[in-house]
Structure formats: structure tokens, C-alpha cells
Amino acid sequence: MSDATLTLEGQGPAQEQAGPSTSTAVRVAKYTGVRLVMLFFTVVIGIYLVVLVANMGGYVDEIRRGAIREQVSIAVFADQSPEMRDMTAEEKRQLIEERVAIEEKRIGLDRPFIVRSFGFLQNAITLNLGFSTDMTSDSGSRQVRLILLERLPPTLLLWGAANITLFFVSLFLGLFLSRKYGSFLDRMIIALAPTSSAPAWFYGLFLILIFAAALRLLPFGGMVDAPPPTSNVLYAINLLEHLILPASAIVISSIFLQAYNFRTFFLIYSSEDYVEMAKAKGLSDRDIERRYVLRPVLPTIITQFALLLIYVWMGATILETVFNWPGLGRTLFQAIGLYDTATIVGAQVIFAYLLAATVFFLDIIYALVDPRVRIGGQGRTR
């Protein structure tokens, strides 16, 4: 695609004109440091926006106030104890006001929303995620952090497995296709590339229909059977069975486009003059491929993959919901359904951190493979 050849902004060297004397290690460290600070600010702003949306710009507070008032009123009017019965309506009203004020102060509703929103932000950034109102973790805790930590491994397992498979399979497929340029397989992958316009969850529906509903080969969803197998080996096999369909959905939805893109990069780079030169020198195909094609293409490929990863992360909520995968995405969806603000913000915070970590991780790899960063190029890349 057209934006494929561009690098993520800032992934080019962030320092202006480094002197020739600075060592590679210092330059890479400086580069990653600058990126880290920028990513942190990005995360802060992103999370603040999420806090605002999740609280409906303060409207959730109004709902809570209403709920508190209703509860207190019901409690006061339902109380049939003798001293209550003797109260006048005016006294009861006063009592309600008092109790509402106490309750609002207890959960901090007495301060304006804007002030509290920065408190929320600080708590979110420091992973002090508070308590859920409606959800509990499997161990019975109401701490959002525990709920989310429990859900994190399944998410990392699914997305890690799928994306690593995707990256290596498409890389080698792309390399293979660029060698067999113009062959039947090559043309077939080009023809299949547009199928990647459908997201992973969509292929998930088809996979469930074929392999779970029609053929009854694999489970419809979930992560392990209920009750889970007791022995470790059986547990692993069972987990794998449940992993196949969602992971395949992720791989199928992106593999053809990725392989096509990689192949195109390889072709573009192997038509460079220096490759011709290497051929003229009589180097072996293997050497040419490794040193003159794969090497310069790596930064571009990694950028490509970073964009894909970020895009795919966004779909976690729906894919996990479709497959009943007990990960972060599905928890987020459940929390939204329950208006559980603490869990929503918590899940988004974890997502933001995961995204930032993904970008940062790829940045480091990028810095290591891009000679412009390593040797110290000049200015920004465009």
C-alpha cells in the first residue's frame, strides 16, 4: 500500500546531527530515551482522553449522585423505627441531605469533576486502578488491578502467538515470492491480498462456522474446557485446541497483504543498482539476498509490522468477544456493558501501555537495524 514505504514519524533519528565522535551505544541510548519520553507523554494524553470519555465528561458523576440520593431516600423512608416515624417531612428531608453529603464525600463526589479527573489520571498512570463496582476477579477480588492482571496472560498468549507466526510466515513467504516473481503462486497471493480488508473477527465467524459448527472439530470458543483438564499435558493440548481458531483468524486476516507487501519491498530493493553491482561481482544469490536485499529492507518491514500490530491490537475487543477468549478485550467490553468506569479506564490504561510498549520495542529493534540511527545519519527521515 502507498503508506507502507513511509516510516513512523520520529522513528527516524531524533537527534539533530550527532557528532562523529559519539559511540553507537550512546546514540542508540539517546534515541530510545527521547522516544521513551515522547511515548510517555502520548500515553498520558491518550489516557486522559479515555478518562474524560469513560466519565462522560462528568456525567457519570451525575448518575452516581442520583443513585446515591435514591438509595438514601429509600433507606430513610423505609425505616420504620419509632424515632423515624415521629419525624416531620422537613426533618426527613434534612436527614436525607445530610446522609447524601456524607456518602458523596466518602467517594469523593464533593469536589468538581475536573479536579478529580487529574486525580484519576495520576492513579491510572501509576497503575493504581482502584476498585471495580460490579466485576470480580476469579479469585474473588474487586481490585481492578487483580481483575486485569488475571486477564492479561490470555491476551498476550493469543496475540503473541498469532503475531509472531504472522511475522515470520509472511516474511519468508514474501522472500520466497520475490524469488519466484511472476509465478502462479506469486500471482495468486497478489490476487488474495485484497481479502485482508476484512478484519480478524470476520474470518473468526467463518472459522467457527466451518470448524466448530459444521465439522465439530474444534471448540466454539473459550480458552479451556470447563472443567479444565487436571494434568499439565492435557491442559496444554486443550489450550492449544482453543487457540487454533482465534490465532488462525488473526493470521488469515493479514497474511496475504503482509506477504504481498514484503514481496514488493524485496523486489523494489533488489532492483537497486548496488544489487546489480553485487551480481556483476559474481556474489552468490544467498549472499546478495542476505547482505544487499534483506538488510536494507528490514527497517521498512519493521515499520510496516508495527503499524499492523497497532491496527490489530485495536480489534482485540471484538475478536475476543467473538471467541469468548477470556482476555483484556472481552473484559473491557463486559465492563463497558456494566458502566464500570474503574475497570474501563483500567483496561484502556493497560491497552495504552501495551501499545506503547509494542511501539517502543519495535523502536529499539528499528534503532538496532537502521544504519541511519546506528551510525548517526543526519536529521529526520521523511
Binding site: S2, E9, T42, V50, A214, I310, L332, Q348
Partner: protein
């Protein structure tokens, strides 16, 4: 013109274009043949609109793939020409009304349900009706008798008294058709059946009309859902909605992105820097979860979602693409010339900078469409579809929640999914070819 001729050299582009034109044709047909208000009335309608449709019936064309046809719905009404209605005055305050519903049953399978809908006219005294069932092999089965309200429905299938009276342990709608009700695997007997309805009315002006409905296993070209609604309504109307959503979002996003990129590149400095930073923040903002939050907390209206989606997509990857091109264009001599004669910033941006990259806008725009169409479906699948409009995503959502896959009602899930797939693929094919045409580096690769 040159570009057009080039497009025609790519067979995939032609296929994509033909499908898109077809979809546009379907959309126009949908809007003309089934006006918006009518479509909403049908889709939001309950028993009053759809009572005579079978529940979760497969589309009729599944019979093409089967050895024995699945029964379709058979309806016989006393207002049909073929049904003879006789009126005989017995005494001064009693009149007999008789009619015979005769029909040929040609299927091996049983109908899913049987109901008889009565419409009566009377002032005070309720009419009384009794029904008898005649099978092709000459058996005569008394179904029952009852006194009628103005508008009454007799659900034969749910009459447990009748079921106990009939031989075998089959529900009534099967026992009435079975060749041998006590066989292990009963099959329907083909041939002419007759339902005899004899009504007694006790007022001279009173009248009774009835309609016999034998719900089949198949219905229409698209089948029906759990609420007996004809899926063709949603599938038909889903087309213009999906196209409008995808195209509006794509046009809105790419135009705004282009202008912002143009402004940023032209002014450079902190404006450009700010745009770059916003793009980075936006990259980390999870689009779908935010849409889900908006849908849950604020409103599920399709058009609000569209607005939010455009807002979240403006600062997407596109900005970088456009920026790179603008940076090149900015250095062109004609821009310098424009500045020399004193053109304002706005004039340079909108008259000289932006028009230069409009040809590159097209492939980008078209490639964006499937993503938006699928996002809409994703929201609907999570139960956040527009509360009023019938969309493909909502049909998929209904199918999932009502266990279409567990019960083998695959058509229910497949029809909207295939339509989504075709739409996504068409735009993707076209965008892909356009990209190769407008991106000379990719040409021939």
C-alpha cells in the same frame, strides 16, 4: 481519460468496479422499492406484521441443494377465489357458514407449525366454529370447536388436548400429515388435504373469515429470523446503509486529513509539529473501545458513530502519506511563482497544493472504505448497532445471540457475512488496482 483506460487494463479493477456499481444499483432499488419509513415499519414490526411467516426458516434456494424439498409455507384463506364459502340460514337467529380449505401437500417433511387466523364480525353474540381435517387416504379427524372473538388465532400445533387425542406421540402439525403416525420415523403423506370449517353465527349480519397457515421450513429468497421477520428487508436495506457509512466515513476522513496535512506542511514549524504529535497520540488511542464507550454511554445512533469514527481516523496513517507528498510539491517552482505574485497562504494551500495530490487521494479513499464498513458491522456485532436501522451487522448479531450456529441455521449468519465480504472485497480490489496505477513504483510488480 488516460487513467481510465489504464484502469480497464486491470481485470481486478473491473471486477471491483462492476460489483460496486451492482451494490449501488441494489441500494437505489432498495430505497425506491421499499421506502425508508416502510422498511423501518417492517423491520421494527412484531407479530402484527410477521405473524404469517415461519420462525428461522431457511431461504427457498436451499431446496436446490437437497434431494427432497423442504416444505414452504402454505396459506389458504377463505377470501381466496378457490375457496367456496356457503351461507345457509337455518333459523332466524342462526346461520351456518361453511368453507372447505383444499390444498395439495407435496412434501415429505412436515410443516413447522399450523395456525388458523379468524376474522369475525358480530355485535353481541360470539360465533361458534368447529373444524374437521380430511386426509388423502380418507381419514376424518375432528380438530376441535370453539367460540370466537373478533380476531382470534387458533394455534393447532400448541393444542395439547388435540395432541392427546391423536394417535402416536407426535405434535398435532405432524400427526395430521403423517402417513402412519405410529411409525418410528413418520413421513408426511402427499396428496389433497381438506380442512372443513363450519361456523355458526347468531346474528343476521355476522360473518366469519379464516386463513389457514402451514408454516414451512423455507421462506423467501433470504429466509426469516427468530422474530419471523423476512431477512431480505435487512439485507436489502443494509446495502445503502453500509455503502453510505463506508463512503461518507472514507470521504470525510481523507478530505479532512488531506487539508490538515496540507496546512501542516505549508506552515511547517510548530503547526506541523503539533499535527505530528496529535497523530502519535491518536495512534495509541484505541478506536474501537472508544467507539464502544460512546455507543454505551451516549447514543448508538449510526450517524453519531460515523462522526466519532471520522474524528478518530483523521489523524491516522494517511497524514504521513500526504505529508511526504506535500513536502515534495511544496518545493516546486510553480508554488514559488505563486508566492512571488503574492498569493495568500489559503490560496496556495487550496488552489495549488491540494489539487496536485487529488489523483492520489482516490486509491487511498477507496482502500479506506472496507475498514469503515467492517467497523460498523463490528459495533453491531457487539450489540451497539443503530437501534432503528436494519444493518448487516445487526443480522449477524441476532444470528449469534440466537444460536444460529449451534442450531445449524447457517444461512442466517452467512447471508450478511457474504454481503459484507463482497462489499469489502470490491472496494479493496479497486483500491488495490488504483494504488498500482497511481504508485508508479509498484507498477509491474
Amino acid at each position: 481519460m488516460r487513467n481510465l483506460r489504464e484502469i480497464l487494463q486491470y481485470p481486478t479493477a473491473i471486477i471491483g468496479l462492476i460489483i460496486i456499481l451492482g451494490l449501488i444499483g441494489v441500494s437505489i432499488y432498495a430505497v425506491v422499492a421499499l421506502p425508508y419509513s416502510e422498511a423501518i415499519r417492517l423491520w421494527r414490526g412484531g407479530e402484527d406484521v410477521w405473524s404469517k411467516n415461519p420462525k428461522t426458516a431457511a431461504p427457498t434456494w436451499v431446496n436446490l441443494f437437497r434431494r427432497q424439498d423442504l416444505p414452504a409455507t402454505i396459506k389458504v384463506s377463505s377470501e381466496d377465489e378457490s375457496v367456496e364459502k356457503t351461507r345457509e340460514v337455518v333459523t332466524e337467529d342462526m346461520t351456518d357458514i361453511d368453507f372447505f380449505f383444499t390444498f395439495d401437500y407435496l412434501y415429505h417433511g412436515f410443516p413447522r407449525e399450523i395456525s388458523i387466523f379468524f376474522e369475525t364480525q358480530y355485535d353481541e353474540k360470539n360465533p361458534h366454529v368447529s373444524m374437521t381435517w380430511l386426509t388423502p387416504d380418507g381419514r376424518e379427524i375432528r380438530i376441535g370447536s370453539m367460540s370466537l372473538e373478533r380476531s382470534a388465532t387458533y394455534r393447532v400445533s400448541q393444542d395439547s388436548t388435540l395432541q392427546r387425542r391423536l394417535p402416536g406421540d407426535l405434535p398435532p402439525h405432524q400427526a395430521l400429515f403423517a402417513a402412519d403416525p405410529e411409525a418410528e420415523n413418520p413421513e408426511a403423506l402427499q396428496g389433497p388435504y381438506t380442512l372443513q370449517v363450519s361456523a355458526k353465527v347468531f346474528e343476521p349480519e355476522a360473518d366469519v373469515d379464516a386463513e389457514l397457515v402451514m408454516y414451512g421450513e423455507v421462506h423467501g429468497i433470504a429466509g426469516t429470523d427468530h422474530r419471523r421477520r423476512d431477512l431480505s428487508v435487512a439485507l436489502l436495506w443494509g446495502t445503502p446503509i453500509a455503502l453510505a457509512f463506508g463512503l461518507l466515513a472514507a470521504v470525510g476522513t481523507s478530505l479532512t486529513t488531506m487539508i490538515i496535512a496540507g496546512v501542516g506542511t505549508w506552515f511547517g514549524g510548530w503547526v506541523d509539529g503539533l499535527i505530528q504529535r496529535i497523530t502519535e497520540v491518536n495512534l495509541i488511542l484505541p478506536t474501537l473501545p472508544i467507539l464502544i464507550m460512546v455507543g454505551t454511554f451516549y447514543s448508538r445512533s449510526l450517524w453519531l458513530m460515523l462522526g466519532v469514527l471520522i474524528l478518530l481516523s483523521i489523524f491516522g496513517g494517511g497524514i504521513k502519506t500526504y505529508r511526504a507528498i506535500f513536502l515534495q510539491v511544496k518545493e516546486s517552482p510553480y508554488i514559488e511563482a505563486a508566492q512571488a505574485y503574492g498569493a495568500s497562504d489559503a490560496r496556495v494551500i487550496f488552489r495549488y497544493l491540494i489539487p496536485r495530490i487529488i489523483p492520489m487521494l482516490l486509491p487511498n479513499l477507496i482502500t479506506l472504505v472496507p475498514g469503515f464498513v467492517f467497523t460498523e458491522a463490528a459495533l453491531a456485532l457487539l450489540g451497539l448497532g443503530d437501534p432503528i436501522l436494519p444493518t448487516w451487522g445487526k443480522v449477524i448479531n441476532d444470528a449469534r445471540f440466537n444460536g444460529a450456529l449451534y442450531q445449524g441455521n447457517y444461512y442466517w449468519m452467512l447471508e450478511p457475512s457474504v454481503l459484507l465480504m463482497i462489499t469489502g472485497l470490491a472496494f479493496s480490489l479497486l483500491g488495490f488496482s488504483l494504488d498500482r496505477i497511481f504508485n508508479p513504483r509498484l507498477r509491474g510488480m
